[in-house]
């Protein structure tokens, strides 16, 4: 298709007029207020969900000794009933665990080795996430879902924010946003319309030479049937309880002389 000369001239004029602003933008990445606003809306929407099930497929890059980047995969199913129930089934190349929280006890069970560990948990999921992170250094997959919209997120750290465009994730039409902050570039795909749900997240660690990525694609059920029994761990006869060590305390406490 041939471009009309007048249109071309206008386009050139428009580019010329825009160039000073454009040059300024390249010096410092722009923050699009709409992108920030979309994050806040998504956070508020997530916080408003009293019960949900989300299935996530994830990939995580790592770098092996030779400096080569390799990818690990995994799947997580998360069930949440606010304020005090959570269940997670983790099936990955490097982790296979089930996590239970019933408002009283947090339990993690590794079926592969037949061990489980537990600690008395705070009464709400909000408090539990802080205990897991700060006291136990327990890496909870999909942890972001518990932080978005809590005010514990730090918009100030975002150095660049832009809407990339419209994209479809698993048949769902989403707005695609890209954010930049120190050491990390990340993208998120948020559902358009009334359900501001994240359907995909890609995180790139830019401070590493190989720029490893972590990605997840999410499938949501906002009207799940959740029974109390799903959140309480009943140990199989073959399972043994082991100690849950707080972070920074590497040794076994009994010294092997029971």
């Amino acid at each position: 298709m041939r471009r009309h000369p007048t249109a071309t001239a206008l386009a050139i004029l428009a580019l010329a007029a825009a160039s000073p602003a454009h040059a300024k933008d390249t010096a410092k990445p722009a923050i699009d207020p709409e992108a920030i606003s979309a994050l806040h809306k998504m956070g508020a929407f997530l916080r408003g969900q009293q019960a949900f099930v989300v299935q996530a497929k994830m990939t995580t890059d790592d770098v092996i000794g030779s400096g080569q980047k390799v990818q690990f995969g995994g799947a997580v199913e998360l069930k949440v009933r606010r304020p005090d129930r959570m269940r997670m089934d983790i099936a990955g190349d490097r982790r296979n665990e089930r996590v239970y929280y019933d408002g009283k006890t947090f339990t993690v069970y590794s079926e592969r080795v037949g061990y489980y560990a537990a600690f008395p948990a705070p009464g709400t999921l909000d408090d539990l996430k802080d205990v897991l992170e700060k006291k136990y250094a327990f890496d909870l997959p999909l942890a972001d879902l518990f932080y978005w919209g809590t005010g514990q997120d730090e918009t100030a750290a975002i150095q660049g924010a832009t809407r990339v465009g419209t994209a479809t994730v698993n048949g769902v039409t989403c707005d695609h946003f890209a954010f930049r902050q120190k050491d990390v570039d990340w993208e998120i795909w948020i559902e358009q319309g009334g359900r501001q749900l994240p359907h995909k997240v890609v995180i790139t660690t830019t401070s590493e030479k190989t720029k490893p990525q972590h990605s997840m694609v999410l499938n949501w059920d906002l009207a799940p049937r959740l029974d109390d029994s799903m959140f309480t761990f009943t140990p199989p006869p073959t399972a043994h309880q082991i100690e849950f060590q707080p972070a920074g305390r590497p040794g076994a406490r009994k010294g092997g002389t029971p």
Binding site: V63, V113, A137, Y147, D153, F179, Q181, T204, G255
Partner: protein, 106 residues
């Protein structure tokens, strides 16, 4: 060392917070989302583990992976792994089961 940001969990919020994954993982942080950067030195972890096991297993030392040919043993309702003459006690540390060398329970 490789680090992959696995969740947007805070580095800023909790500047001193670490997430231990495998041998070590550090929560870096992100932003609006909390961002966690996890340091996951897989290959190095394996090497370190082998070194610990290969030399005399010092009581109190911890490994992520057991040497081959271990047997699960329960003594006094406490779970152990017996690997030849070396006994390990499993525990959850960070996000995984790790094994601490202990004195033989019997």
């Amino acid at each position: 060392m490789s680090k992959t940001t696995r969740t947007l969990v805070s580095r800023i919020l909790t500047a001193g917070t670490c997430a231990v994954l495998l041998l070590s993982a550090v929560a870096a942080q992100a932003i609006i989302v909390r961002t966690a950067v996890a340091y996951r030195p897989v290959a190095r972890a394996a090497v370190a583990t082998a070194a610990v096991v290969g030399t005399a297993a010092v009581v109190g030392s911890m490994v992520n992976t057991l040497p081959p040919a271990c047997a699960p043993v329960v003594v006094g309702n406490v779970a152990y792994q017996q690997c030849g003459s070396t006994w390990y006690q499993p525990q959850y540390a960070g996000s995984q089961v790790t094994y601490v060398v202990v004195n033989p329970p019997r």
